[in-house]
C-alpha cells in the first residue's frame, strides 16, 4: 500500500512531486489506476498546463469518478497549482470549461485583476503566503514564508472560510491555498519552494501516520 498516489493524467512535473515525497519519507506511486489510487493513504493531484485539456484527460481516464469516491473516504487529497484549480466548479480559461466541482467557486484569469500592462498574465516567481487558518498542512511553515508560483489563473472560492492562505500580486490579494474538509490545495508549488515547501510534505507524512485508519 502506498502513502501517496500521484495522479497521472499526463500533465505536469510528476518527477519533482515524487522526489519531494521520497525526501519526506512518503512511499509514492505515479498512477492512473483506480484500484491503486483507492488503496492509497492519500493522493496528490499535480498539474501544469491548460485547464480544459486537463479535464479532458481526466474524464477520458474516468479519474473524475475515482477522485469523487476517494473524496468520500475522507482520506487526504492534495491539489497543486492546476491540480488545485481543477477541484473548482469552472474556469475562465479558453472560453470556459467545467471542473470537478468539489469546491464551490471559480477560476479566474490573473490579467483581469492584477496586471495593468496589456496581455501580461503570467505570475512567475516567489510570493509570500499569509496564513488565514491554522491546523492544516501549512502548520509547520512560517507565516509569510515565500513559495514559488507560476500561474496565469487563480481560484476564487465562494466560501472565504476555506481559504488557508492569501498572497499578493501587485498589492492585490488572492487565495493561495485552501483547506476544505479532506481537500487541501496550493496555488504555489511546495515541491519547488525549497526547504520551506518540503515542510508541507513532512506535514502530510505526520498526518498520515497519526491516522492509522487511512
Amino acid at each position: 500500500m502506498y502513502d501517496v498516489a500521484i495522479i497521472n493524467y499526463e500533465m505536469g512535473n510528476l518527477y519533482s512531486v515524487s522526489s519531494a515525497c521520497n525526501n519526506a519519507g512518503l512511499k509514492s506511486i505515479i498512477t492512473n489506476e483506480e484500484s491503486t489510487i483507492l488503496k492509497s493513504k492519500s493522493i496528490i493531484l499535480p498539474g501544469v498546463g491548460c485547464f480544459k485539456q486537463a479535464m479532458e484527460n481526466i474524464k477520458k481516464k474516468k479519474l473524475d469518478k475515482t477522485l469523487l469516491i476517494f473524496f468520500k473516504t475522507g482520506k487526504p487529497i492534495i491539489g497543486i497549482c492546476l491540480g488545485m484549480q481543477l477541484f473548482f466548479e469552472r474556469s475562465d480559461e479558453l472560453g470556459g470549461s467545467n471542473g470537478l466541482g468539489l469546491i464551490k467557486g471559480e477560476v479566474i484569469s490573473n490579467s483581469k485583476y492584477f496586471f495593468n500592462k496589456n496581455n501580461e498574465h503570467l505570475n512567475i516567481g516567489w510570493n509570500e503566503i499569509f496564513f488565514q487558518k491554522k491546523n492544516n498542512l501549512l502548520k509547520n511553515c512560517n507565516n509569510s514564508s515565500r513559495m514559488y508560483f507560476i500561474h496565469s489563473y487563480f481560484c476564487k472560492p465562494k466560501n472565504k472560510e476555506i481559504i488557508s492562505s492569501e498572497s499578493k500580486i501587485n498589492d492585490e490579494i488572492f487565495c493561495s491555498s485552501i483547506s476544505y474538509r479532506n481537500i487541501e490545495c496550493f496555488q504555489f508549488h511546495p515541491e519547488k519552494s525549497g526547504k520551506e515547501g518540503l515542510k508541507i510534505y513532512s506535514s502530510l507524512k505526520n498526518k498520515i501516520n497519526s491516522c492509522p485508519q487511512y
Binding site: Y15, S16, N23, E120, W126, Y148
Partner: protein, 280 residues
C-alpha cells in the same frame, strides 16, 4: 522598485562538466555541476537554469540524466535547454524533472515551433533564449550558443517571439558574457521598452553595483548569473568528467580577478538595502 526579482544561477554544461567561457567562447571546465547547484540551493537561489551548450551543435544531449539527478534532491524550479527541437524533446525533458524548457536555435530555424509548443505545453512552460551580439550599433541574434550569427535583428525577433505566445525570454549579451564588466545597459533599456512579457537578463555581472546599474534602467523578472558565482567555488569541485574539455584553468588552480567572491545572499541583501527590490 522591482518586485520578486529572481536571482538565477546559470549552469552551462558540456558533457557532464560545468563550463564557463567569455563571449560564449573558450569554455573552461570548472567542476561537477551537482556540487555547484547544491551550494546555490542551500544559499538561496530562486531557480536554476541548466544549459547544455554543445547540444544543438552535436545534436546530442546528456542533459536529461543531469536534470533527473538534480531533481532528486534540489527542490527549486529547473529551467532547462540546449538541443530542444521538438514537442517530443520537451516531453522527455519535462519527464526528467525539468519545469520549464527553453530553446533558441530551433525557434530561429522554425518560428512556428513556438506556437506549437506553447499550445501544447502552455506559455508558462516555454521560454525563448536569445543570444544577442552588437554590430555597428545594431543588435543581432545568434544560434548554436553564439557560434553562428544571423541577420535577424533583435528588435524584430523580440516582437516575434512575444507575438507567438512565449511565456518568458532569457536574453544573453554575448558582448558582456563572462567579462565581469556589467550587463549591457543600452540593451537593457531597449528590451524594457520593447516587450511586456517577463524577461531574464544574462551576461556580464561581476560586481554588486552592476546589479544597481541594470535595475535602474529595466525591470527584469530575473537575473541569470554564472562566473560571478562559479569562480568563487571552483576549487572545491575537482570531480571531473575525464573525457574532454579545457581543464587547464582548474587544474593549475588559477584565479580570475574580474570577479569578487559574491554569494547569492550578498546580492539579495545588497539589492534590498538599496531598495531596488522587494519581496511580494
Amino acid at each position: 522598485m522591482i518586485k520578486n526579482l529572481r536571482i538565477i544561477p546559470k549552469i552551462d554544461v558540456k558533457n557532464f562538466n560545468l563550463v564557463k567561457g567569455i563571449h560564449l567562447e573558450g569554455l573552461r571546465v570548472l567542476g561537477d555541476p551537482k556540487v555547484f547547484i547544491k551550494y546555490y540551493y542551500d544559499s538561496g537561489a530562486d531557480e536554476i537554469i541548466y544549459h547544455d551548450v554543445v547540444a544543438s551543435l552535436y545534436g546530442k544531449n546528456q542533459l536529461k540524466e543531469l536534470v533527473s539527478r538534480t531533481a532528486n534532491d534540489i527542490f527549486l524550479p529547473l529551467t532547462v535547454g540546449g538541443g530542444i527541437s521538438s514537442i517530443e524533446s520537451i516531453k522527455a525533458m519535462l519527464s526528467s524533472g525539468a519545469d520549464r524548457v527553453f530553446a533558441n536555435t530551433a525557434f530561429i530555424k522554425n518560428p512556428k515551433l513556438i506556437n506549437e509548443t506553447v499550445k501544447y505545453f502552455g506559455s508558462s512552460t516555454i521560454v525563448a533564449s536569445i543570444e544577442t551580439i552588437s554590430k555597428d550599433g545594431e543588435y543581432y541574434c545568434s544560434m548554436d550558443f553564439g557560434r553562428e550569427e544571423t541577420q535577424i535583428k533583435l528588435d524584430e525577433w523580440l516582437m516575434e517571439v512575444q507575438d507567438r505566445g512565449i511565456g518568458e525570454i532569457v536574453i544573453t549579451s554575448i558582448d558582456q558574457d563572462g567579462t565581469g564588466k556589467g550587463f549591457d545597459l543600452k540593451l537593457a533599456e531597449k528590451i524594457s521598452k520593447k516587450i511586456y512579457i517577463p524577461y531574464i537578463i544574462n551576461g556580464g555581472f561581476g560586481k554588486l553595483n552592476h546589479f544597481d546599474e541594470v535595475l535602474n534602467c529595466c525591470d527584469p523578472s530575473g537575473i541569470a548569473i554564472g562566473s560571478i558565482l562559479h569562480y568563487g567555488l571552483k576549487n572545491e569541485n575537482l570531480v571531473l568528467d575525464q573525457e574532454e574539455g579545457n581543464k587547464d584553468f582548474i587544474l593549475k588552480n588559477k584565479k580570475y580577478l574580474n570577479f569578487g567572491e559574491i554569494s547569492i545572499k550578498k546580492i539579495k541583501d545588497h539589492l534590498k538595502n538599496k531598495a531596488l527590490i522587494r519581496e511580494t
